[in-house]
Symmetry: C2
Subunit: 679 residues, 2 copies
């Protein structure tokens, strides 16, 4: 096929030559050149595979057809497609290694012209990434067809390790939730599924060698080895590695239910139901601990083909070690001056075991110790400085600090976190190259199989872009436009993050869920781990409240903030003022209109004070708007009376906050400013 | 467990003694008595199986836990459930026959008290039905639990044959769509899945004896025999029989692709892509036709365990028979005076083949002929008279006329159709008993796997109630309240009929889908088969337009009609007048506010005149309201000018109609009435 568009590598953000709107790609490619015209994607759509891609590419082509059919409503594969020119030709140079691996070649070139599209890649991994880009390009066109704009994209990732960690222990995630997650990961070009399989609250993988571990440590909620193999194959087909984590020596209560003899303190132990850092730990002085770990990790090393094995190693509080005479004596005997040294001893023993099974060990910051072999990978929850220090010592590392999606931050905050921040970009090239990428972490204290999609998506797409795309990309407005489109596009996979919102509101409010939505649209879950302070949570607490339905980030509140900023930036304070007023007026009415519903439904009682807060804040915002309109500074007495609203309630039992509070603060602060306003 | 509530059989609609709101059950049970208090459904929820239900009951209990977990967010089965009193005890007297069958005992008694619930049934089929009732009873309660009201329900179906026909030929329905459909059927207590597997447009079942049939007749879109067995087992676990249909001698183009020698006219044949009644037909004069049918139907008789086998038999236009010299000669030779006689001859031959494989034959009205064996079941698309006539001749029958859900009627119209209407209730008891029930029919010319859920649900729940519940039930307001709750509840199964609406609007309008929704909420697809007149449809036409997203029935328009009727019933014409005005004002603005979006998106161009119609109708409605307020009759000139709006457009290419048109007509007719109004 003759290419009508010259291929040019161009700078990132300014890349949009040619006509047509900017396509909503995420992650944004490293190079993109818009051409003229568009490719029609209609009932005659056909894919042709050329080159030597093998089974992964063939299966990917079938999935692409099925997803394109879902996205467009076309009947694909079409029995009527002509035998001639294919709409999409996929040229893969060779099959590469059979499994995805660190450093695999994920580069591809995608050329779309009105005559057809060509996706070219050296290996199947690049084909997989390019197919997602192609799907993102296809948008509604004429009344019987869809279209993709003419474009030349040359793309490759910035970092080789772009992961998502899923905690299947605290809340067990059924197989279909795991597969949905993998579908979403593949869609945004993530390539490592870090599977947190054991913790105090559940031992989630079948061990044939030590069956007590999963039988007594999981309430029957675990993955069989066949299911694990199924997940690995499913992930591999999508170019995603699976790195398992078995968190030791802390976070091991669920192990100790069947094996109390491994613990520092005598049992019996029960599966932990609460959240937090627990006291139980393996006893590093016991040889039987290492014998079992050798057996169990050996079994897992054979089950999981990836060369990396994560041993956790975080958050050992040392209480049981300190309480044990045996451990105390052991420390003395081995000349280990504190628990940090003791854990280093433990890690070195475990490191030898892991090496013995031909795996490279990985652990959280706490495992870092100069004595460890240099192929150990440090997984940093502490931050870039910690990662930089490890890199200088010769260790490879990945970043998760800043990517903790369970903290329910807004997407922009994750997006602006870069593995090279905080001086890492000043490191010598050789050291910096040891920083392999990062991982979003989905801890599941407050996430159930029902809510996991909305907790991961769409925000993780922004992290995926940070790890794939050029570092210079930092335009938040542009990011949010593409994130919204990507969020909608992700629902054409099996993900449920948007539809689930409505369903959960329907559970809470029955036929009146649209009324409730007016409130739900402008609230956000409390950030960080504040929710844990608002109630007595355990593994059995239903996660069906308004806070569980609410999205991590309120689009309405973000839009309102933009409006307020634009208005305040206008010297006359008029730009968009009526829009600001209309929203505040609507929100001022929330309490009065919602109170009957909230009081009728017991699950919503807790939202009564929340609606009251929202209405009071909106009222204060309207007052501030009035002062701004008059061009007079608000009196100090008014500020004194209203300012407490800005702090939020002291004990928000509903675990939610009013998302437009910061924008009202801006309005109120502008209103009390003594600066004269130009009208 | 001691039952705190006396059991009483009470009249249906007046059944609500005791406190609390009427539970949103559908189908409504034959007897219900509300008690005092409620059962808490919380983290300690546990099911106990007593009696001898066997595997079907055990698997149903696991599914009930999983669905209750989804419905409530509870972690079930709960590892913390106490060993004592179960929340739900399921007592099944015996396992019954291994497979669901015509006339199976589906009765059950469900007793809920604050201390616990007991579900009692003689056979697993009753347990399955009662479990759905239990799930429908569970609604949100206090902030950490759900609740079921105290109640005694004794229930059993009115008709033994309550079916849904799914056309998998015109649009192939993938396995997951079939299973979702079965989940929904089980939820509303339907018990027959009639699987329309072959038609002109596709031969959808694997034949190992004649593999050309599915290989050349299906574009590769067919069910393997393993998949068919999987569906049968899935259905059986839900108390649903699977009755396959192989439509002959017409509707057979897809057979003739591989077997042109069976046709009345020489081939070659290709899979039909268009809709309508086609000319090709099997040639009744050829012995090889009966040989193949004997082989194929024998194979299918072994694959499908149900004793009924549907041979279609509808819509043979006879053109190819008339054109064939061989057929003409055969008719003469066999003394068959017309094509009706010829088809009767064919049916008698087929009937012998079906009997030879120990099945009872079933066919559409056209097969009815006195010479057929009396165990033949007549499936009536013609109506109750036809069914009654067959019953008088000794044939059993089921009704589908009035239950054609592909005609996109409103639910009430289906609901008010009763198999005993049009004189059937006057038949002698013995004749009437031959009318076994009915089936909703989901023909799939205009239904894809993406839209099938919204075309079947929730309206089919109203038909399910008609076939299960006492005949006296006819309160439409009450039905619609329960239908709305049932629709939301059905989304806790895997069905997608509500979420899919939003997703389809998002495809059409991108980030501005909520604007589009304002229009989509007040339009309905054209009823009956008018859509086919609005475009050149084939099997390959994408079904992704506004008409595909739009719901068969507009709740907003129905609510508006109620408002208008209430206002007009008020002598002062004031009741609810402001509500009427507010809605009309909103709709009047549709065109102006939506035009930029509609013109920007090519897939929405066709909706521009639709929005204009809606706005013009709303404007006319506001004018009518003005006359009504003034208490003066509208001038004839006004009526003459506006009346054409009430006819709708001559050629609605968008295949949609404005759903509030009838209510505007009511307003306009009231406004022109010369009758003086009391103000």
């Amino acid at each position: 096929m003759a290419l009508g568009v010259a291929m040019l590598t161009v700078a990132v953000a300014a890349a949009m030559a040619g006509g047509g709107p900017r396509p909503a790609l995420m992650p944004w490619p490293s190079s993109i050149e818009m051409g003229a015209g568009e490719l029609v994607v209609g009932p005659a759509f056909r894919i042709a595979l050329t080159g030597r891609g093998g089974g992964i590419v063939e299966r990917a082509a079938r999935r692409l057809e099925a997803r394109l059919a879902r996205q467009t409503g076309l009947v694909l594969p079409s029995p009527l497609a002509p035998a001639g020119e294919p709409a999409l030709e996929v040229r893969c140079d060779g099959p590469g290694k059979p499994l995805p691996h660190l450093g695999m070649d994920e580069g591809y070139t995608l050329t779309v012209t009105p005559e057809g599209a060509v996706l070219q890649a050296a290996e199947p991994w690049g084909v997989l990434r390019g197919m997602e880009t192609f799907l993102q390009l296809v948008v509604p066109g004429s009344s019987t067809a869809f279209r993709a704009p003419a474009v030349v994209i040359r793309d490759e990732p910035r970092f080789p390790w772009r992961g998502l960690m899923l905690d299947s222990s605290r809340h067990f995630m059924p197989l279909d939730a795991v597969k949905r997650t993998l579908d979403g990961m593949a869609a945004v070009k993530l390539d490592v599924f870090h599977w947190h399989l054991t913790d105090d609250q559940g031992f989630r993988v079948e061990s044939r060698r030590y069956p007590g571990l999963h039988r007594m440590g999981s309430d029957g909620l675990f993955y069989t080895q066949e299911q694990v193999k199924d997940v690995i194959a499913y992930a591999a087909d999508r170019g995603i590695r699976v790195v398992p984590e078995f968190d030791i020596p802390g976070h091991t209560t669920s192990w100790l239910v069947s094996h109390p003899e491994l613990a520092a303190m005598p049992g019996p132990y029960q599966i932990e139901r609460r959240w937090g850092i627990m006291d139980p730990a393996l006893d590093p002085s016991k040889e039987e601990v290492y014998r079992l770990l050798d057996g169990f990790l050996g079994e897992m090393a054979a089950l999981f083909p990836d060369p990396f094995l994560h041993i956790g190693g975080d958050e050992v509080n040392g209480k049981h070690w300190d309480a044990s005479e045996r451990v105390t004596a052991f420390k003395k005997q081995e000349d280990l001056k504190d628990n940090h040294d003791l854990q280093a001893y433990f890690n070195q023993r475990v490191s030898k075991i892991v090496r013995g099974h031909r795996k490279q060990m990985m652990g959280w910051d706490e495992v870092l110790h100069p004595g460890l072999p240099k192929d150990t990978v440090i997984h940093s929850w502490r931050g870039q400085e910690s990662l930089g220090a490890a890199a200088k010592q010769g260790f490879r590392g990945i970043l998760s600090n800043g990517y903790y999606i369970d903290l329910v931050w807004s997407a922009d905050r994750h997006y602006l976190t870069d593995p090279w921040d905080k001086g890492v970009d000043q490191l010598p090239e050789a050291d910096r190259a040891r920083i392999l990428g990062g991982e979003a972490t989905m801890w599941s204290e407050f996430t159930s199989p029902e809510t996991v999609d909305s907790r991961i998506w769409p925000r993780t797409a922004a992290i995926a872009e940070r790890l794939w795309s050029p570092r210079a990309l930092r335009d938040l407005d542009d990011m949010y436009v593409r994130l919204e489109a990507t969020s909608r596009w992700l629902e054409w996979t099996s993900l449920d993050h948007r539809a689930g919102y409505t369903r959960m509101l329907q559970r809470l409010a029955g036929p009146r869920y649209r009324e409730l939505r007016r409130l739900a649209d402008v609230v956000e879950p409390l950030e960080n781990y504040q929710r844990g302070d608002t109630g007595d949570y355990t593994q059995q607490t239903p996660l069906v409240r308004l806070v569980d339905a609410a999205r991590p980030e309120s689009d309405a509140a973000r839009g309102f903030s933009r409006l307020v900023e634009a208005m305040l930036a206008d010297p006359a304070r008029q730009a968009g003022r009526e829009g600001v007023r209309a929203r505040l007026q609507e929100w001022q009415g929330l309490e009065a209109s919602l109170r009957p519903l909230l009081e009728e439904r017991a699950l919503l009682w807790e939202a009564v004070p929340l609606a009251a807060e929202a209405s009071a804040l909106a009222a204060a915002g309207l007052e501030a708007l009035g002062f701004l309109e008059q061009g007079t500074a608000a009196p100090a007495s008014w500020w004194a009376e209203r300012a407490q609203l800005l702090d939020g309630p002291k004990k928000p039992e509903h675990a939610l906050e009013v998302a437009f509070r910061p924008a009202v603060r801006r309005l109120m602060e502008a209103a009390r400013s003594s600066e004269p306003l130009s009208q």
